[in-house]
């Protein structure tokens, strides 16, 4: 299991992430009364990007981007091999710093602003992400994801506040509107494409694939809230993950971008009000 699961993640996560992305585009299009691209369009895009030449502003962008990708994939493999969850999250934030580096190293205006905002987003997410790991630890007495899936009951029953906080920051992590601060969906906005502005050709393809891995990893944490030793919980988790993703698409299509300081206030307030309160109750009860 410890070897198999990471390998499965390595192979299947981009497929799942790409398909989710394709569904995202289709559903978004339908919400906007368009036909939308085929489901497999993201794969065609990436394939085409790889065929293009690698355009950079400064050479070090490429190696920073590759590092970002490898570290995210590594973190995902760690998570799936059942090791310490808190350590995974620390690795995740370290990986994120390389994305920031690859953006600011260019000194290009839009990329630089995107990088600043990416860092800001990290700061908004981190408390909720770390608290999630701690919530699981209090509940099950372990940080090991391999132990967590063997619980008697789904964690969400005891950790609803943590779940809410995590869903909230998931929108930030996925860089979806209203929190698409660091990279916008449409290049005609004030930000152009933020962190990805200066990523050209295959570098952009790498970023796209990394995003798929990251999304799958984050949704896996959502699934962890549902999973227990009962095999049927797997089906349940898949449904919850799909529902979560649909919710993200809905939020994305119905809201306008928020100012970053507002985002900080809101995300921390939700973290305290939901996860913090849940934490106090959990500690008092235990």
């Amino acid at each position: 299991m410890r070897i198999l699961m990471p390998i499965l993640f390595l192979l299947l996560a981009p497929l799942a992430g790409g398909l989710l992305d394709g569904m995202d585009r289709k559903i978004s299009a339908r919400m906007q009364r368009r036909v939308g691209p085929p489901i497999l369009q993201p794969f065609y895009d990436v394939q085409k990007l790889f065929a293009k030449q690698r355009i950079v502003v400064t050479n070090s962008q490429t190696f920073l981007m590759i590092t970002y990708m490898v570290l995210i994939i590594f973190t995902g493999c760690m998570f799936y091999s059942g090791v310490d969850m808190l350590m995974c999250f620390f690795m995740l934030s370290t990986a994120g710093i390389f994305l920031y580096f690859s953006a600011v190293v260019t000194d290009s205006p839009y990329s630089y602003i995107g990088g600043q905002r990416e860092l800001f987003q990290e700061m908004c997410c981190e408390p909720a992400v770390l608290l999630t790991a701690l919530g699981f630890y209090i509940l099950e007495g372990s940080f090991q994801t391999s132990d967590l899936i063997k619980a008697d009951r789904s964690a969400i029953l005891a950790l609803p506040g943590f779940f809410v906080a995590f869903l909230f920051i998931l929108t930030i992590k996925m860089r979806k509107s209203p929190f698409d601060e660091s990279t916008s969906h449409h290049p005609h906005q004030e930000l152009v494409k933020g962190v990805t502005t200066e990523l050209g050709g295959s570098n952009l393809a790498l970023f796209q694939i990394t995003e798929w891995y990251e999304n799958v990893l984050m949704l896996s944490v959502v699934a962890l809230f549902i999973l227990n030793k009962n095999p049927w919980s797997i089906l349940c988790a898949v449904l919850v993950v799909l529902a979560t993703y649909f919710l993200e698409i809905l939020i994305d299509n119905t809201s306008a971008r928020m100012k970053s300081q507002k985002m900080l206030q809101l995300s921390w307030a939700v973290t305290i009000a939901a996860a913090g309160v849940n934490l106090v109750i959990l500690i008092l009860v235990r």
């Binding site: 570290l71 808190l86 580096f101 000194d107 990290e122 934490l279 500690i283």
Partner: protein
């Protein structure tokens, strides 16, 4: 046999006195280049002797009335000196903070007489402190020898008193050795006051109005802590008829009330010394002094004294009301000062706030007082000592080259002052990037605070962790941004400064790479000594994973870098809506004229700067301290 102990305490003080008398810089340098290695060698000798004795704690100097009388005389001399300084500066009330505790201590000495107990104790923790003081502090003295020359060339308005400066530095180092090796409470008090006075003298070095104000602020805050310490010691010794730190901890664990109160007062004193809120302002004010003294105060001496004493008291604080409050105050300081650090644009200020913030995390670890947290705290202390010393020296050297320490002026430092930028990168990365010191310590501290059910500390660490990453990453990004100021900068860093910087950088990387080993062979015995029984903090699984993580984080960027060099890339100008003027730095503005591009970070200074947050935070923590005093002295807990 144990000759190195008196040597380490007395020798630096003698060197200090000698340097005071010598006014030729070349001779001074010669003396320092001999004395500092001698101190390092003596420390090594102490370590070797200790391990030849089986590596068990050793109690020494049981019956030494002469030395005790000497210490008492020293206390009185310090009191007279402080009183004289205060009267000259017309700050009469501050002298009370020296007179009252000294009279109390001396009075007690006469009443109780000399007790039959060890005055010196050598164990893993004190040895670790000795190593930090000798090596980090020693390297700072060497760096200072070069730095102070340049300093007086640039700052002609400052009166030339280098002989005085070096004297204080060496006396400071001697006092730190005395402090960490003493086990007798009165001795501890004496060395404690000595470090307070030394820091006061260092901060006031330039004699400018600001420096004098700040130095007296540092003095009264630290003497206030010293007063609390003296009250605690007198109360405990009179009530329990015991005179050592170990007896204090033991009594407190046995539930002796006088001991518990003394522990609380000592912990309060440690808060002042470790510059925790509400006493953080003295360390910020200490920035007016020349860089070596900042480095000394922040990394090797002074603030570490506060942390050291808290680690000693940790078993006594674990699970008590005192521990709960101390952990809360530390956690709060960790979070709030890291927020303030985001708002700073001056590199030295960022370092100052980050020191306070990191110390806050160590204080929180000590307050929780479990083996895991002390493990985390000890590592934090090691990483912090090396990193901060490196950073201060590096920022000082960078300032000499750039004539600025504004963060925005460090844009693209990697391409302008590559050596200094790499050192800076190592120093910062060692402070917070996974899987180095800070992160594993945070991991351990978080788990332990969950186990001890301290909700406030959990929240403070979680949020503080986010803000800490933010300001460090922002700084790192600034260094690596491809430069737009293409004018070359001449690296005028002196050779002895470079030597010190290189040694620090190597030590930092070595500590990162070797820390599982250090943990096993050094920190585990340290915990066993502190807590008696002790089980493994980190399972071997976690340790193995850490080793893998270290490899991954080192290797992935390296391999990616090497392999990406072969990739064929097409270099283009950065995107500026098609308004570039043929290069990356200029664009056509709305009048059709070329305009220079300037990218800067946002620091949110008005909202979260020092002026907005410091006073409310100080008030909140002062209230918490008052409540702690009421609860512990009132006997509720």
């Amino acid at each position: 046999m144990w000759w190195s102990i008196p040597f380490l305490i007395i020798f630096p003080m003698c060197i200090g006195a000698l340097l005071y008398c010598i006014h030729v810089q070349k001779v001074r340098k010669g003396i320092a280049y001999v004395a500092t290695p001698a101190i390092m060698a003596a420390t090594i000798d102490l370590v070797v002797t200790y391990f030849n004795h089986g590596g068990q704690p050793v109690d020494l100097y049981v019956n030494v009335p002469a030395a005790s009388h000497f210490i008492t005389a020293g206390e009185i001399a310090l009191m007279i000196f402080v009183t004289w300084k205060c009267i000259r500066a017309k700050k009469y009330w501050i002298s009370l903070l020296s007179i009252v505790p000294t009279i109390m201590i001396v009075n007690m000495e006469f009443k109780l007489g000399e007790m039959e107990a060890a005055h010196i104790r050598v164990d893993h923790l004190s040895l670790l402190m000795c190593l930090i003081v000798a090596f980090v502090g020693g390297l700072i003295t060497i760096y200072a020898m070069g730095y102070m020359d340049g300093y007086h060339q640039h700052h002609t308005e400052v009166p030339e008193r280098r002989h005085f400066f070096f004297m204080v530095v060496y006396v400071f180092i001697g006092a730190m050795f005395g402090f960490v090796l003493s086990s007798d409470l009165v001795w501890i008090d004496f060395f404690w006051e000595t470090t307070s006075v030394c820091s006061f003298l260092l901060i006031g070095y330039t004699q400018s109005e600001e420096a004098v104000t700040n130095s007296f602020r540092a003095l009264w805050m630290n003497l206030l802590g010293g007063t609390a310490l003296a009250f605690g010691i007198v109360y405990f010794e009179t009530a329990a008829k015991a005179s050592t730190l170990q007896a204090l901890v033991q009594n407190s664990q046995d539930g002796v009330r006088a001991a518990a109160i003394c522990v609380m007062l000592m912990a309060f004193a440690a808060l002042t010394k470790a510059a925790q809120l509400p006493f953080s302002t003295w360390l910020i004010g200490a920035m007016v002094a020349p860089t070596p003294s900042s480095a000394l105060l922040h990394s090797a001496t002074m603030v570490k004294a506060g942390i050291y004493i808290l680690f000693r008291l940790a078993p006594a604080m674990s699970g008590t009301m005192t521990g709960y409050f101390i952990a809360g105050i530390g956690g709060f300081t960790f979070f709030m000062t890291s927020v303030i650090a985001i708002g700073q644009v001056d590199a030295k200020k960022v370092l100052a706030y980050s020191t306070i913030s990191n110390l806050g995390l160590m204080v929180a670890c000590a307050g929780i007082g479990r083996p895991e947290t002390i493990w985390a705290g000890v590592f934090l202390m090691m990483f912090h000592a090396i990193s901060k010393s490196l950073m201060f020296q590096d920022v000082g050297a960078t300032e000499n080259c750039l004539h600025s320490r504004h963060l925005e002026d460090m844009h693209g430092l990697l391409y302008r002052l590559p050596k200094l930028a790499v050192f800076m990168f190592i120093g910062i990365a060692g402070m917070y990037l996974a899987p180095f010191g800070m992160l594993i310590s945070k991991w351990s501290a978080l788990r332990a605070s969950v186990d001890s059910k301290n909700v406030l500390v959990i929240l403070f660490i979680v949020f503080g962790s986010a803000t800490t990453s933010f300001y460090w990453s922002k700084w790192l990004g600034k260094i690596i941004s491809r430069t737009m100021h293409n004018e070359p900068v001449k690296d005028i860093t002196k050779k002895n400064e470079m030597v010190s910087l290189s040694i620090h950088a190597v030590a930092m990387v070595a500590l990162c790479a070797l820390f599982p080993v250090v943990s096993n062979i050094y920190v585990h015995p340290l915990l066993a000594e502190t807590f008696g029984t002790y089980t493994d903090v980190l399972s071997s699984g976690i340790m193995n994973m850490l080793v893998i993580l270290i490899l991954v984080v080192f290797l992935v960027p390296l391999v990616a870098y090497l392999s990406s060099r072969q990739l064929h890339t097409n270099m283009k100008l950065s995107y500026m809506n098609g308004a570039n003027c043929g290069n990356d730095n200029t664009f056509t503005d709305s009048f059709g004229d070329p305009k220079k591009l300037h990218m800067a970070n946002d620091y949110f200074t008005e909202r979260i700067g020092r002026h907005a947050l410091m006073v409310p935070c100080q008030l909140a923590v002062t209230a918490a301290i008052v409540v702690m005093f009421c609860i512990v002295l009132g006997g509720v807990a």
